[in-house]
Symmetry: C2
Subunit: 221 residues, 2 copies
Amino acid sequence: MRPATGSGFSAAERAAVYRAIGSRRDVRADFIGDTVPDDVLERVLAAANLAPSVGLSQPWRFIVVRDLASRRRVRAAFEAANASAAAAYTGEELERYARLTLQGILEAPVNICVVCDDDPQRGHGLGRQTMPETARYSTVCAIQNLWLAARVEGLGVGWVSIIDPRELRAIFAIPERLTIVAYLCVGYVRGFADEPDLLRAGWETVLPLSEVVDHERYTER
Amino acid sequence: MRPATGSGFSAAERAAVYRAIGSRRDVRADFIGDTVPDDVLERVLAAANLAPSVGLSQPWRFIVVRDLASRRRVRAAFEAANASAAAAYTGEELERYARLTLQGILEAPVNICVVCDDDPQRGHGLGRQTMPETARYSTVCAIQNLWLAARVEGLGVGWVSIIDPRELRAIFAIPERLTIVAYLCVGYVRGFADEPDLLRAGWETVLPLSEVVDHERYTER
């Protein structure tokens, strides 16, 4: 790599950042169940809180869940949603679906429910008049920061979207004015796979960069 | 920091990742206008393409814009939206708003319009039955990857949300079925400020971590 003048990052430091990005995985199995120390979890959450946010609104809130009874309720909500989801598939696709591990709610010692205030007072409305959805996007940027920080701490993160958000709202007493963005399973793992689970399982292939980049205008493929 | 067993990252490498996260800025001024070499831009876009995506759907598309005529049209769209936005403020707040630099569309040599297929065929619907918005969220994760990779390359990124997305759709021939997620200004910068612009400008303060983390259930503050 050529030197990145003025970045303040050495070649080795830049390589570390690219490696974190490239070796981050959506982890659903392989949690080893070890406790996540408070200081480690705090570093990872602090990384989330450093994300960009529209108007500097920081519209996110992270609910850290260790309580087993709560996680059992979430797990039951997953089972219900997953049974409905599976009903959309048939034949070979259903068999492949049934073999996928899609959550680690009880196996990961820490779960994090991420919520967002879509209409925050903070930020004084800056940047949200034409694109109000940017508050939500800020919260997702925070999740990606968390995910990368977790990776370098040796913590796997799995984002579970097969849950009816209304169930999470009830379990964690989340007011109606807040949007439930994500439910994450977090914990130490045996290791990080070289490739995404869904690629290894034959569920989907990987689109190369050339297929997702256009120049000057959108090109239909 | 204690060693992160099994992460495969040394303390120095972990520190580099945290430093990228902490020193990333939303850059609107300070672009120096130098060309961004193709290989550098490709590394940054490849980092985006490595983001997590629901069902491994990779629903994102990046339109790289260097053409000055297009950027002038986008700049005009910003000016129109910004005039409306400014009308929402009065008095001291309006004065502060008017002093903010909110875009670098012409100053940054590269702009990137990021769009998303909210209902991708790829991924076979996995994870999108209960939370279909996760396709959009995948695209935002990709943007945050891009932003961090840009940081270590010495490239500033500014996310401009004060534009009517319909104008971007017309300028870049984006079909109706795709959602316009972000418009980014990208280029080498004189440097990265120690603090967010909006903090330095007195627009907003920073919420400490303790204010955005709850335990076990949501807590009204």
